[in-house]
């Protein structure tokens, strides 16, 4: 069955120059969608999300309950609801209370808040994984909590958090395809637009899939390079 589908797909792709032309013609619009929207949207949302995540993680590690509570609530609310619903609340929901936001900023807001919650759990776990003795060593050379966190704990936690944060980022890149549903003309939206005219759904959506795959593959190479650079002080 699978073999049949694959050969069918190959047949579709190679069947005459018409299909091949379509792939080539669709390639630039999709790549353009990726360069103009998919990649910037993912990058900006991830960077903002990381800042939210760091703040949330530090709040969750606080010994003061009223500092912890909002962070716990935020993480629970975001992780407990679908990303698509969050996106729709921001773009289609907020206008009814007079808050109309353009598609792209809406997407950035929703994705940042989403990544912030997930990444905060990663960062919290990474911070917790650093032995208590490292905090104490920081304190005994005279550092405050904040300085110890910044100078001693976070540099070590960063190394621990690179693999899981890369996962979060790669998920985010793929999730940006949901922005097509709030009119952001990113990679997948372009595929949809072209397919709507030509009806070559299999061909064009497969092409989109391959493009996402290539982006994520390149990202995993970047991940490996970063990991190797951060590993220099670890015993091999």
């Amino acid at each position: 069955m699978k073999m049949f589908l694959v050969s069918n797909l190959l047949f579709t792709v190679t069947n005459g120059s018409g299909n091949w032309d379509l792939i080539v013609r669709a390639l630039w619009p999709m790549v353009e969608g990726a360069i103009k929207y998919t990649i910037p949207l993912a990058l900006v949302s991830f960077l903002i999300g990381l800042m939210i995540a760091l703040l949330t993680a530090v709040m969750r590690l606080s010994s003061v309950a009223i500092v912890r509570a909002p962070a716990v609530f935020y993480v629970s609310a975001i992780r407990g609801t679908p990303l698509l619903v969050q996106l729709f609340i921001v773009f289609y929901g907020l206008p009814s209370i007079g808050l109309t936001i353009d598609p792209l900023p809406s997407a950035v807001i929703a994705f940042s808040l989403n990544v912030g919650a997930y990444a905060s759990e990663v960062i919290r776990a990474s911070i917790s994984s650093i032995p208590k003795g490292q905090w104490e060593a920081g304190y005994t050379v005279g550092m405050t909590y904040g300085t110890t966190l910044r100078r001693i704990i976070l540099p070590q936690a960063t190394r621990v958090s690179i693999p899981p944060l890369s996962n979060t980022f790669i998920s985010l890149v793929k999730d940006t395809s949901l922005a097509s549903l709030i009119l952001v003309t990113e990679l997948f939206r372009k595929a949809q637009e072209i397919a709507a005219n030509t009806f070559d759904f299999l061909l064009l959506y497969t092409e989109a899939a391959v493009l996402y795959w290539i982006i994520c593959f390149l990202l995993s190479i970047v991940q490996e390079i970063i990991e190797r650079r951060l590993e220099r002080y670890i015993a091999k």
């Binding site: 003795g133 060593a137 005994t140 002080y233």
Partner: protein
């Protein structure tokens, strides 16, 4: 007296670990704390620099700085207490992402805001003093346990504390590496550093320290000069403990 402690008490929840400790640490003196595990000796040491916060007690330093743990103390006071002492840990706790030299200059440069160049030259002196002048640019994982511990000592010295605290500094070391570390501590004693050392090394306590404290069950059971306490202990619990760690006596 560099530091006078009265009525120190510390409990973890229901468990009382230190029960009414009085202790004087003379300026330039070496005080060793001995005793079976669970006797409270490490907790006592950690109370001296605020890694543990006593429930009750009163500290008086020679410079007039006092702390009364019967009241709630501010973060600033705790920080002030902490910055009076340098600490050497049983498990070294070096910063793994920094080289030996970077470990040593971290306190002076980041906390004390000293000029980086002079901090580096001071750190180099300290690392030579502990015999590691050729290992300065290595990361902790490239050093042996004994070398790591000597970096730990240099790191504690670099902040120029009034008081040096050692928490079983040789307990995690292979026997052949213990001598190097004890040698460094002995040199510091000769230079006049005030030190409090938790240790099981009887011969170190006998030959290097000015004052030995024997703890059991959260109390100081016996104290005095090392020869008296270690050779003619008066208390049965001290005798029993020394017999166990010195089978040949």
């Amino acid at each position: 007296m560099l530091l006078s402690i009265q009525g120190l008490q510390k409990s973890f929840g229901e468990l009382a670990v230190l029960k009414d400790i009085d202790l004087d640490v003379g300026k330039g003196k070496v005080v060793t704390i001995m005793g079976p595990s669970g006797s409270g000796k490490t907790t006592l040491l950690r109370c001296l620099n605020g890694l543990e916060i006593p429930n009750q007690g009163y500290y008086q330093f020679h410079d007039g700085f006092t702390l009364d743990f019967n009241q709630k103390l501010s973060k600033k006071e705790m920080l002030q207490l902490r910055r009076k002492s340098g600490m050497v840990f049983q498990s070294y706790n070096l910063f793994p992402h920094k080289t030996a030299l970077e470990n040593v200059i971290e306190g002076p440069v980041i906390v004390q805001k000293k000029d980086k160049q002079s901090a580096i030259s001071h750190a180099k002196q300290l690392l030579s003093k502990v015999g590691l002048e050729d290992k300065m640019d290595l990361y902790p994982h490239q050093l042996s346990g004994g070398q790591q511990q000597r970096v730990g000592i240099a790191r504690a010295l670099a902040i120029e504390p009034e008081l040096m605290l050692f928490d079983e500094p040789t307990s995690a070391l292979d026997p052949e590496l213990i001598g190097d570390v004890l040698g460094v501590i002995k040199d510091l004693a000769n230079e006049g550093w005030t030190m409090v050392v938790v240790t099981h090394e009887v011969s170190f306590a006998k030959h290097v320290s000015d004052h030995v404290i024997f703890m059991d069950g959260g109390y100081i059971v016996e104290q005095g000069n090392p020869k008296d306490v270690l050779e003619q202990p008066q208390e049965p619990r001290t005798k029993q403990f020394l017999k166990r760690i010195l089978p040949e006596v």
